[in-house]
Symmetry: none
Subunit: 413 residues, 2 copies
Amino acid sequence: MRCEVVAIGTELLLGQITDTNSSWIGEQLAQAGIDSHYQVKVGDNLERIVECIGRALSRNDAVICCGGLGPTQDDITREAIAEVMGVKLVRDDEIGERIRRMFESRGRTMPANNLRQAEVPAGASPIAQMPGTAPGLVCPVGDKVIYAVPGVPSEMREMVLGTILPDLQRRAGMTAVIKSRTLRTWGHSESGLAEMLAPRMDELDQGGKATLAFLASGIEGIKVRITAKGESEAATNAIIAEEEKIIRSILGHCVFGVDEETMETVVLDRLKENGWTLAVAETDATGGLISMRLCAKYRHAAGVFLGGVVVNDHESQQRILGVKPAPFPNPATTAELAEAVRRKFGAEVGLATTAVDDSVRAPGMRPGTVFIGLAFADDARAERIQLPGDRERIREFSVISGLNVLRHRLSGR
Amino acid sequence: MRCEVVAIGTELLLGQITDTNSSWIGEQLAQAGIDSHYQVKVGDNLERIVECIGRALSRNDAVICCGGLGPTQDDITREAIAEVMGVKLVRDDEIGERIRRMFESRGRTMPANNLRQAEVPAGASPIAQMPGTAPGLVCPVGDKVIYAVPGVPSEMREMVLGTILPDLQRRAGMTAVIKSRTLRTWGHSESGLAEMLAPRMDELDQGGKATLAFLASGIEGIKVRITAKGESEAATNAIIAEEEKIIRSILGHCVFGVDEETMETVVLDRLKENGWTLAVAETDATGGLISMRLCAKYRHAAGVFLGGVVVNDHESQQRILGVKPAPFPNPATTAELAEAVRRKFGAEVGLATTAVDDSVRAPGMRPGTVFIGLAFADDARAERIQLPGDRERIREFSVISGLNVLRHRLSGR
């Protein structure tokens, strides 16, 4: 089974948007055991889109068209697919109704031109998932198939995972089950992890049942992905479980979560087990990102994360948290901030971060010098870490590092 | 003059690396006034690389091959180009010498297999710039040309800027300049904007000097991009300036910024002009994202954005801001929050948002019902808006919508 991705949009050719969709789809196809030999980008030009889709269809079993499904005049993917299929566009009342309901659910009336999105190639059927107003399409062409998904990444991903990959595997008559499991780590660099795992990877290269891959993912940590292919779901799961045991024994405590677990959910769940609550104090270095990440996991945060304070200048720090300003970030002040916010919210645990980034000039401290303060009823202290990168990466790494310090403390490490 | 980019490397198809090189090259070509109708990604397979380069050459005046110039066995771009040119690979002693010197200059001796990089298609000449050990190539084919550059972005960029763009422009004998300007808007849906601008787009389609494109960019707003092609930089700028005037007259106040301006920088700068400071109160719906976005623009935030408070539950709201909890989000409580945080920080302006998302069940309110509170010394009130989308989009849209309400108030609207 071979599948080609055709990304559609002049903005992709002009470099105004980087085409990350094709890369993501390529990764999903590979993990699903589906070959992909080419990826093509083409602009909003009917003739050229038709040419690209036609060629892709001629040299593959399936084509995924990404983008050009919107309501505007330069969204012509539907027309192009119809021409490749040699059929007319027909109004699909079910799709039109779904779009209308989508707008109603948002308290808006549907602009007339959105009905263009209900004009689909004869024989096409809508993809069940429809998180936005752009419907995805499944367009059978003989024993081959053309899929169309919107260019909005979140919408595209939901459709690919929910409909396209299962459909491709069904068409491929695949019996083998390919699955992967991601271990999330924090505390070692990517190259550090690679060194630790090199011997195991060599073993696997000599005919192991699983493969390993690294993925540095910013605030999500550095991921180690285990992929396995087995005769059945049970067999595949067994291979992955066995490999996970081996990898965990090598990496130890730097593994904080699995798959969709984040540092926030892990820490919040650990706090909940202890029946403890948390409050956070931030400066402009993280600026509210810790609070935001914790709030985002509201099912985990409810009753655990009480809230936080962001102070963007010395006067506000003094005024809101009553902590005497120091000229530069330092451990003592950071510990005070953690204790102050803990008392203010009446929480069991207070967390505070201060950092030196390129907006701060501090003698003897490089950008990326970060202090992480933790306050408990009987103890408040701060530790210093050094992070790499520009202001944005320092901010993201400060968040996951701060929560990671808390995670270790909660585990008595 | 038309040029196509062919990105070479199996890791690109597998999504292990996102192909940012093609986007960057596409942007450079556009700015240099060179058309680009397709971009292709292909794996490390000789037959398929030859096919892609051959097709690209047949439908363009020039082809830029990116990647596959290293010393290892799967670096076969040189072989593929030779096959397309119908020539043999020949050892280029000058290139061999440059590679040797490159290694010497780094205090290393050249591994033998690096000499593979000195095997080039007969008739090819090296690109002068050579920041790494991989030489770039200029390969004339009749009156057309194939360029080869390494996949390492920094090396690729130096060669494209130093040799390829000037060579393309010389070959094109043209001086046209293409430029874009992006107007950022908030307040209308993408399709709503499309309807407002449809008449103007029709005019432009009938032989205008500029083109328009839409781009929904989440928290960055919905962008309207004006692109123009002129005989000179000045001519192009004039076309864009004239078109911008027309578009602004159609869209009016929903245009909040241009190009890299964000809603945050615009609001912060407006506040600074008035000599006013700002404090923000957030609940779990935005959870600190407003503060974070404001802090992130620290050059604009300094002395203007004092800080914020995030309250994740009723008790914390009462305790930290002294605002009596209400069972559900509502205008009165939201206005109180804005006033409370304004006083707490001693700011001239207080902003607060509360929202109904899928974590809240509020009678008669759909997810996406958001209240935006604004407090000034003499006046505190809140307005209600309805936003689309899931929890994450509601959060992002709440942030830009809240700041947008403040923007309008600061403009006396």
